[in-house]
């Protein structure tokens, strides 16, 4: 029996669409490419969460490799991540700089009292000032900043053991070797 190519056309179209959808629909649309990789961390001046008279700025990110972590007491996924951040702080894997986003001071502080505070410093960003400059779309999001204050990596979503070991740690070790 001879099948003409024309008759198979719908099948080909179906397969092509199937492949296109299989690729397109399984991508997470909330993960956007960051504009900021290899660019200096945006200039900021934000009050400390625990002491509003103290102002934190870019100098707090100079001289060491830092993990800047955007969180908020309202953020469910941040709770999942918190244990991992505590572990990183305990084992002194990296300096953690927290940004408490769209929160109240009271709730932010209570959150860190209850779950422990893995951060060396916590900036309080009530009006998304730094968050918008960082192009953040949701919490948690994390940035790895090198010793010179340049953004080198962005991770959207909670940091898990797996992500730390495979994606973040190798980069952090490399950046720590750099002068």
């Amino acid at each position: 029996m001879k099948i003409s190519l024309k008759a198979l056309l719908p099948l080909f179209i179906f397969l092509a669409l199937g492949i296109a959808f299989a690729v397109g629909l399984t991508k997470d649309p909330s993960i956007l490419p960051s504009q900021l990789i290899n660019r200096p961390f945006p200039q900021f001046e934000l009050p400390d969460l625990f002491d509003e008279t103290q102002i934190l700025d870019n100098r707090d990110l100079q001289g060491q490799v830092t993990l800047v972590n955007i969180f908020g007491s309202w953020c469910v996924a941040c709770g999942q991540e918190h244990g991992m951040l505590m572990k990183l702080a305990r084992e002194k894997e990296i300096v953690l700089f927290g940004v408490d986003w769209k929160d109240t001071r009271e709730k932010g502080m209570r959150w860190l009292e209850r779950g422990g505070n893995p951060y060396t410093r916590v900036a309080f960003d009530e009006d998304s000032k730094l968050v918008i400059d960082l192009g953040v779309t949701g919490a948690p999001e994390s940035f790895i900043v090198d010793k010179k204050g340049q953004i080198r990596y962005k991770h959207v979503g909670p940091i898990t053991e797996d992500i730390w070991e495979h994606d973040l740690k190798p980069l952090v070790l490399e950046l720590e070797q750099a002068p």
């Binding site: 649309p29 909330s30 956007l32 490419p33 960051s34 504009q35 900021l36 769209k102 009006d127 998304s128 968050v131 918008i132 400059d133 960082l134 192009g135 779309t137 949701g138």
Partner: protein, 153 residues
């Protein structure tokens, strides 16, 4: 003396007019901010503009848009400011550029292909089917069949 007073008065008028021209009125700012806000995507909810989204981040972005306009940015500068931080994604209408050519051209291309196909098809002369009358033999067979299938009355 009087001359000088007039001159100073005139200068004051000009200065105030200039100041007025440089700082846009609140209503003006609001109108421009809404216009800009309509073209910026709320990055949390993704298919709404920041102008009609209830997300807290969209609210902060709206405030920021107004701040930028108040500080003298043009509409395009405000949009460029957001684009620098969030990338092309923050624009609700994708710009025509190398990586979006396919997106813009495909519908037009498909339309053109269809039109060409249609024109070609409609111009092509229809194949006429030649009718061959039944031979006498076949006529006979047909008659026989008709008789057989006739219902008994």
């Amino acid at each position: 003396m009087r001359m000088r007073a007039v001159l100073i008065f005139g200068l004051c008028l000009i200065a105030s007019a200039l100041a007025f021209a440089q700082t846009p009125s609140e209503a003006d700012i609001e109108q421009r901010a809404r216009h800009v806000g309509k073209s910026l995507r709320c990055v949390v909810c993704q298919n709404q503009s920041i102008d009609n989204s209830n997300a807290p981040l969209a609210a902060d972005m709206r405030v920021l848009v107004r701040e930028r306009i108040r500080s003298g940015d043009s509409d395009d500068e405000v949009i460029a400011y957001m684009r620098e931080r969030y990338g092309d994604f923050v624009l609700l209408k994708p710009p025509l550029q190398a990586n979006t050519v396919l997106l813009w051209v495909t519908p037009l291309g498909l339309l053109a292909v269809f039109l060409i196909w249609y024109v070609v098809q409609s111009r092509r002369p229809r194949k006429s089917v030649e009718l061959v009358p039944l031979s006498e033999d076949e006529q006979q067979k047909l008659q026989d069949l008709m008789k057989k299938t006739e219902l008994p009355s």
